[in-house]
Symmetry: D2
Subunit: 315 residues, 4 copies
């Protein structure tokens, strides 16, 4: 049998980030260097270099994104909706602290404004300073408007319309204010902020065989109750230790992410982007949208609707 690697890191210490993925399942990543360990006004925050995943943001004990695979997550979150839209100009991001969601939006030459509303200024400053490979300068793009505030309140109080709304906040399970961005009420509000042809896309939690009903299926049912047809899809994120789901939907007349053809994706990528992607193109699109039977069955069977009064605190 092959020799196994030692417990302590190449940098000499023995720190591990140990995270429960579900009951009885731990993923442990050896820490090469702790860059920051503290508390913001809203959450516990760490920036670490881990051996398997490089520079990593951890909030409230959970990996948010890592250098090794953040491009998978952020391209998957942003690009399908952007490519499906006829001509996205104005984009709204709820959350998105690392700046990588904005980076993906701003790859699109024709985007004129990207409004990013994140609750936690301290975490955004940490990312700005310590995670340059994540934001890659997006914070300096003049098309970005960065606000530190509650995204729901912002949308409620501002009547401007957007071509794309991107929801990049933690899962609805965790008790914090994030669950209010996954409710029937929220999708009804968001719908009124979509410009004609507009699309909303949300990160939607894990969707592997053992955890698809944790939140993914309920978010899908909730969205489709408000918005009609949805386009659920997923990618694999190693640092999350699971498949990760996303769901897009739009106004009745909006183009659908599910309906995008391989050639369309590739043509639009060729003309719209100022820098190349690493994960997403037409073939990858097919892979992301081609859901296995068990997953489609779980979506079909899901009856739970998330409301402001009845969030998904646990399963």
């Amino acid at each position: 049998m092959a020799e196994q690697p030692p417990i302590n890191s190449s940098s000499g210490q023995n720190f591990w980030h140990m995270e429960y993925m579900e009951a009885g399942l731990i993923q442990g990543s050896r820490i090469a260097r702790v860059i920051f360990d503290g508390q913001s006004a809203f959450q516990s925050a760490q920036i670490i270099d881990t051996e398997p995943f490089g520079r990593t943001l951890v909030l409230d004990g959970k990996v948010q994104s890592s250098e090794a695979d953040e491009w998978v997550y952020h391209e998957a979150l942003v690009q399908p909706a952007m490519m499906a839209h006829a001509a996205p100009r104005r984009v709204f991001i709820a959350g998105g602290g690392e700046g990588a969601t904005a980076r993906e939006v701003l790859r699109h030459k024709d985007v004129t404004e990207c409004v990013m509303v994140d609750l936690d200024e301290e975490v955004v400053q940490l990312c700005k300073e310590h995670m340059p490979n994540h934001h890659q300068g997006a914070f300096n793009d003049p098309r970005l408007t960065l606000l530190f505030s509650d995204a729901v309140a912002y949308l409620r109080e501002n009547s401007e319309l957007f071509d794309i709304l991107i929801i990049d906040v933690p899962d609805p399970l965790e008790g914090g204010p994030a669950y209010l961005l996954y409710t029937q009420e929220f999708y009804a509000l968001a719908m009124t902020r979509l410009a004609p042809g507009g699309i909303i896309v949300t990160q939607a939690g894990p969707c592997g065989p053992t955890n698809v009903t944790e939140v993914f299926s309920a978010i899908n049912t909730t969205m489709s109750l408000v918005l009609g047809d949805t386009s659920p899809y997923r990618v694999y994120i190693p640092s999350f230790g699971t498949m990760w789901g996303f769901i897009a939907a739009g106004l009745p007349e909006s183009p659908s992410v599910e309906g995008l053809m391989v050639s369309q994706v590739d043509e639009r990528a060729a003309t719209r982007l100022n820098t190349p992607l690493k994960y997403y193109d037409g073939v990858a699109h097919q892979g992301m949208l081609g859901l296995p039977k068990y997953l489609r069955a779980a979506l079909d069977a899901e009856l739970r609707v998330i409301t402001n009064a009845a969030p998904l605190y646990a399963i």
Copy 2:
């Protein structure tokens, strides 16, 4: 922050299966019950019930398959090649100890013979006794011929031809005899044992963003050197903690797995199978074959060829 589950299991003990997925990355599964812990003539073998994954076979310290996701692995290994073939009758399995690969083959009503050659009789007996949900009676199907022997030697010494050859043995990295089922020489031998229109498919190791070049890309390069066009594809296996790859290829005139259409898969599944699948159908097929850019780039860039003289002991 949500309360986390405790370290010890519901059954009261505190045992964990701790497995290095790569350097600095551990997946730990809480053990609910140890069913068997011993050594066969060839390897260390355990059968355990883990909390996240149910009944699980572990060989030489690595999870081989678990109740929670073995159906993902085994459908992915077997069904694409079986569906791509015009009319598979005779099937060969190298390895396949749990009996679940045979189970998938024998779902096909028109299969007349399935020859399974596994090295380790003791492990097969353990699976037969303790993993009924894996084999589901496949060992009792009269169409199965089960031999305990070296699969390479069997193919070398028997000139019978097969419609489908399925390679279900450990990765080529691990020093044991398994690497001889991933070499240029092996594929040349296997080719001579394919009946006209025949297809060979192999499990091909991890293929996530952080480990696609471990063995997957080299197996693909090696296969295509011998067999021409290959169909690489992948699924996510939670208990392996990563995306898992498979590669199919055939004789020059054989149908290709990559070329299978959604409707073909669904029509053939409807007519050929005696029991329904849980993971695989036409849409899932598209998902499995739709490889992301980085993965196709890794395949394109790979130059390593695995030979009997130069196996892939390490990367």
Copy 3:
């Protein structure tokens, strides 16, 4: 920096026994072999070979005793009281499942009867079968009377007197019936079962700088309330991951363990025992009784009294 050992065991599997020693402190022992994993009528029970500690009994997730250091525990539990007594003939053991406490008693040539009352017959049978290096044949000694019953009930219902009473049951914290062997009421009962000159000794939980007040100090206060002067002492047990305490006390006219002199211990050991000890002699006795300042201060400061109505469920 020195190379670190690998995560998986020499026997090829990757199982670890992970035990919380206190909040935020885990001791993990690599398992070389699982001998037994099951449930008795009373508790979860495992017998494992661990790499650091050899053959080990685990009950309800906690190491009870291991080959590597059980002799430290069992000599420390038994020999000081036996040596302090003028001429011990009749000995009572509450608990003592592994048979090693009886072994220590039966080393004394002049012992005529040892009554051992353990609740859990299944666990005793497991130890008899799988832990021969623990009991070393003690179960076959004709002087041993082994009963499967409740030790408190036995003492209540039988009026026979003993020279030595040995309490070898789990800590009073854990909710089970064991806490009833640490209460004021129990010590009052036990006192009536001591023959003139008799001594009672109990295992008394951890007593290191971080955990001395968990149960040790409260047991000492409770015993001294009933029995007057106590002799608290301790040894280090690696597999328990901490210093471990014991407390002896007697009738007003009984000899005290604390008062034993080096030369007395060595003379009595030389004449009374049929086999040599590994840990205990006169010098070791001084080491065990010579408590550090902080520990004596903790004992002096302790006011908690354990009663049947108010056990020590938590600190």
Copy 4:
């Protein structure tokens, strides 16, 4: 069974310090806060707050001392030799980075000079800044001379004599320069730097039942070859996960640590110290010196002598 504590800390992150105590034995401490993580010119250095042990210094992956038990270590290292000496005035410390060894020396009112020579200025500065509960102002005592240099070279190049020499450096196993403070040659040099009646004391590694022969017994044999009678003794240090040994010796006419009586220790403590101790007094002295049989047997059986040419790299 009692509920177990969660994996993540009260401060919200999930970092653990995981340290191999020996092959197959891990001690894991949950980290509440990372204060510093970096590299000095000589070693990897961390300062962390752990839940079980408070503020902790970690060097090259190993806990050096923690708030919860450093007083046990430092009193044990310093006080027995200081109390055994007739009237210690001038004291030399090799190592001692945290300042706690100096603190113990400077408790003695009659000490006129304490020369501390530590190799690693960066680590000492870290301790000065972040570990005030360790040094308690010792760095500001005018009697302290603090030098950043090689202690062996210092002793070789300076002919001044000391009443007490204290060796507070890492174990001789680890390849670094520290092993040169445990050799026959070093003890011969040190002997020439002892004033009449002088005593040398060294930390001497783990000495529990499973690890007493790792380095402790060999250091004892080496010291006694040069210095004659030695006084080996030990205490339990929870954050080291084991019993820890120390060895004192002196010139032929020097008083012996082993020969100190209970009353002497208490009388000298009462008159010599300016602040009270927490661990050490006359009774504790007896406990520390009262070695168990197995440990004395291990010392008697040890034949290895550590020399500059043959350090103890491994056992």
